[in-house]
């Protein structure tokens, strides 16, 4: 079984200048190690939609890889995204699913059903390829080749659950920071700083 910290470290090692779209517990660990904060977006505000935002970025900037660090619980809330992504078939989208079988940030309650095989589901929907890893060494060894293959690719990671007793940075602070993160990303991707203020958090 893989830890969140190890998974994020290994993914970051192969990241290059890819955009990252994270959610839930992954965001906490990713923010601790990322060296490209202008290319990071943590989607807490609109739970389950990280993969949809990642798809939009991937379709909008086809020259740059996009890594989505999704969760099993989040994906179950937005399961149709697998079909949508497969249909658009972005070659630059790499969809990681951290599978721990629980809702970590609410205290570790189980998902509606255990044992969903997300890699198989992605393959059935039509992803270019899908993989499942339950040890960090195998992930570390395979990831460079995976990230140089054509997407969309789903990489399922069997991770050790970390139920939170006090919650993680998913609420007010992260919601308030999201508009600025998105503006920084747009500036980085387009080279222009033309998205003015708007919305309640700015």
């Amino acid at each position: 079984m893989i830890t969140y910290a190890d998974a994020c470290r290994v993914i970051n090692d192969s990241r290059g200048e890819a955009v990252s779209v994270t959610t839930m517990t992954q965001t906490k660990y990713w923010n601790q190690i990322s060296t490209e904060p202008d290319l990071d977006v943590g989607i807490a505000n609109a739970m389950s939609k990280a993969s949809s935002v990642a798809l939009g970025v991937a379709l909008g900037d086809t020259d740059r890889s996009v890594l989505c660090l999704d969760s099993d619980g989040s994906l179950l809330m937005n399961f149709g995204t697998l079909a949508t992504i497969a249909g658009m078939a972005p070659k630059n989208l790499y969809h990681f699913v951290f599978n721990n079988g629980i809702y970590s940030i609410t205290g570790g309650q189980p998902l509606p059903t255990a044992g969903v095989e997300y890699a198989k589901a992605a393959e059935a929907c039509g992803y270019a390829s899908a993989h499942c890893f339950n040890d960090i060494e195998s992930l570390d060894s395979a990831l460079p080749d995976i990230l140089s293959s054509d997407g969309p690719v789903l990489i399922e990671l069997i991770v050790k659950g970390e139920p939170q007793s006090e919650g993680v940075d998913q609420t007010w602070d992260s919601n308030a920071g999201l508009p600025n993160q998105l503006r920084a990303l747009r500036k980085r991707l387009t080279g222009t700083d033309d998205w003015g203020p708007g919305g309640p958090y700015i």
Binding site: V21, V41, I43, N45, A46, M47, K49, S52, V53, A54, L55, G56, V57, A58, L59, G60, D61, N78, G80, T81, A83, T84, G87, M88, N175, L178, P179, L182, L185, R186, L189, T190, T192, W195, G196, P197, G198, G199, P200, Y201, I202
Partner: protein
């Protein structure tokens, strides 16, 4: 539904004029002919989604990457997309024009379709400004919708209050 005629090709022409890059949509019965017209327009990429709640997040990602998307979903789908509207449109200040199929709309207000009954109260509640387009005569509102979205950095709805005509009929 309204008796006025709304031709898809005229709406597509408005989208081209606004340099729309992507049309993120889940088709509904009212907009079927719009889908056909869009598939024939090479400058706009159609992005079909499996559920309406995906449309705004996909559009947000496209916008962040420098594109100029719109979404098109039915009123019933907009209700399903409420959390995305809150978090990834209103909450981030996304200048997004949203074409909303106004299923059940008529001018008499006596529709038995609750999807229509709730649309305008829903938009008011979420503080989303909107126009209602019922025929080709209303299409001058479309550029205004883009202007308002851009000026306010907020989503703006264009409620399509009639079925799109088939071809040039």
């Amino acid at each position: 539904m309204i008796n006025g005629v709304l031709h898809p090709k005229n709406v597509v022409a408005q989208l081209v004029q606004q340099r729309v890059s992507h049309y993120v949509t889940l088709p509904d019965s009212e907009t079927a002919h719009m889908y056909e017209a869009l598939m024939a327009e090479p400058s706009i990429t159609v992005v079909p989604v499996a559920r309406e709640g995906e449309a705004i997040p996909v559009a947000a990602g496209l916008f962040v990457a420098g594109q100029n998307p719109v979404i098109s979903i039915q009123n019933a789908g907009l209700y399903e997309a409420g959390d995305a509207l809150r978090g990834l449109a209103l909450g981030i200040g996304l200048p997004l024009v949203m074409f909303i199929g106004y299923r059940g709309h008529n001018r008499k207000g006596d529709t038995p379709d609750s999807a229509a009954t709730f649309l305008e109260p829903f938009l008011h509640m979420w503080r989303v400004d909107y126009f209602v387009v019922e025929s080709d005569d209303d299409l001058d509102l479309v550029p205004l919708a883009f202007e308002r979205a851009a000026k306010t950095n907020q989503p703006f709805a264009v409620a399509i209050g009639t079925e799109y005509a088939k071809g040039d009929e």
